[in-house]
């Protein structure tokens, strides 16, 4: 599969997921939380993917679960990329003391293991999908600050920035109109990869029992099926669908990310005649 088609496939799958999330309340036959059938029924005409141990329709839960996962992934990624772009740009643009303080703090903060910290903070702020994505956004922004900063450092020396300064453009204008458009491609790639990571983490938190209890999420579905005998009894329709759903979304985002990355850094495409 070439990079271009990988990108397209990724985009297509992501689009399908977004569509599923938006329309889940229309196309699902049952409410995701209602007890609508016999517990542990296999797939049938009335229940496409069967029912779980409570008699809830798994197909409906699967579709509703798309929402929480997408929100955590996309919102978390948006926050983290915004934080790292903002801080990284300011740090590199102003340089001097500001830069020194920011780089040193990032150096120190990057040593903290972010995942264990995320676990504690999630418990502390009570698990809700918005809290989780907010925390991921702030904690995950550190590495991005470094990357954006080094990109901006080279831009600050560019002629068009000198030119803009010479004609008296304000710092804010230079940063938003001249520098930002140049880091945007890089930020977009970071956004896609961050969305993939956070989405997986969100489902992972649900699996560990730290998910938002008020929403249907795939992590909770997997953990429930796993610990209540989903596979020991061979009830594949209980355990497999949420797992496949996470995996497929993750693969789609990865394809999208790598496809974009190659568009932005043509050097990755460079091929040597052997």
């Amino acid at each position: 599969m070439s990079r271009k088609s990988a990108f397209k496939v990724g985009l297509l799958i992501l689009g399908a997921y977004i569509l599923a999330a938006l329309s889940s309340s229309v196309i699902t036959p049952y409410s995701p939380t209602a007890l609508v059938g016999r517990p542990l029924d296999g797939p049938s005409d009335t229940h496409l993917l069967g029912t779980n141990d409570l008699g809830q329709d798994i197909f409906s839960r699967l579709l509703y679960g798309t929402r929480a996962t997408l929100i955590i992934g996309l919102l978390g990624a948006l926050l983290s990329v915004s934080v790292s772009t903002l801080v990284g740009t300011v740090s590199a643009y102003y340089g001097g003391g500001v830069d020194e303080v920011i780089t040193r703090s990032v150096d120190v903060l990057m040593t903290l293991p972010s995942f264990p910290l995320l676990l504690v903070l999630t418990i502390f702020f009570a698990p809700s999908i918005f809290v989780i994505s907010g925390l991921m956004g702030v904690l995950g922004g550190m590495q991005g600050i470094r990357i954006i900063r080094s990109q901006v450092l080279s831009l600050v020396e560019a002629n068009f920035v000198y030119g803009a300064k010479a004609i008296g453009a304000s710092d804010l204008r230079i940063m938003t109109r001249h520098i930002l458009p140049n880091v945007l491609p890089l930020a977009t790639v970071k956004f896609v990869f961050a969305a993939q990571r956070y989405m997986l983490m969100g489902v992972g938190l649900g699996f560990l029992g730290l998910g938002d209890p008020s929403v249907v999420d795939w992590g909770q579905m997997i953990s429930r099926a796993y610990y209540n005998g989903g596979f020991a009894l061979g009830l594949w329709w209980w355990l497999i669908p949420p797992g496949i759903a996470v995996t497929l979304l993750s693969v789609a985002l990865a394809l999208l990310g790598y496809g974009l990355e190659e568009e932005i850094y043509p050097r990755l495409k460079r091929s040597v005649a052997i």
Binding site: A6, T111, L119, I123
Partner: protein
Amino acid sequence: MKAEYLMRRVLYSLLAFMISVSLTFVLLHLMPGDYLHSILPYLAEKNPDAARMFREQFGLNRSISEQYLLYMVNIIQGNWGYSFLYGLPVLAVIEEKLRWTLVILFPSTVLSIFIGMAVGAYSGWINGSKTDLSVLNFMIFVGAVPSYWWAMLLILIFGFHMNLFPLGGYASIDALDVGVRISDVLRHAALPITALTISSVPGTYYLMRNSTLQTTGEEYVLTARSKGLREMEILRHHALKNAMLPMVTVIALELAQMIMGSVFVETIFSWPGLGLLTFEALRVRDLPLLQGIFLMDTLMVILANIVADLSYPFIDPRVKVGESV
């Protein structure tokens, strides 16, 4: 220069450690619900005396600042407090669990670095070819599948259906009679190690592939090629060593990633390590134990960073410590 750099490095690490201590202390103490309420909800009502004694025993009756100061002093002295859950010194609990974590963490780190670098170097060297692209796509796929899903699939296929490996735990039930045997533990560790390795190989692979890709255009490669060396020889003797350099810092990052992976993998395999301990401590809100685990995680990452920094000049004699690491 060297001494100054080392000093700065140590100072940073110390600072990071202090911040991590303070941060976890503040957060954990502001966390909703203490141990007394989550484990013995009626004790405080029924028997105020017992509740008071409990608080005194664990120092929960003192002011926050006093507790913090005490905690700092104790940490430095190696007394990391007592776990509510186990009633044992935190450091002792962590030490025991850390050993079990290392049993799966060490082999999988080594394996994933080795496999990732080997495949990544090869793939980067023949970049653009059909083999490279299919390996790349395969790795992207492997990396995109979450670690907990790999772990479950492994149990499902090799443990449950093929019955080759145990479903979880670290020793068979007959360990009660004959004691824990190494071969038995290894049989139990096989699947967790595989799961951890699978989920961290793609990261190493991708970085190594990029790193190798950069060397393919270098002039020493051209020179070697014009001398008529075989491709694989150039890769092994010239390109590989240079491509490996940036990978050293990756090892530290890898470890931080693995700590995360081990929480899921250990929970799924019921492997009695730090990951499972984290899960348990979170469930019962065991504050001192959680603090200890985070401190240990921070220490491990700090240590890995320092080792990576210090080993750099050995791997590349051109780089002196302190210069453009």
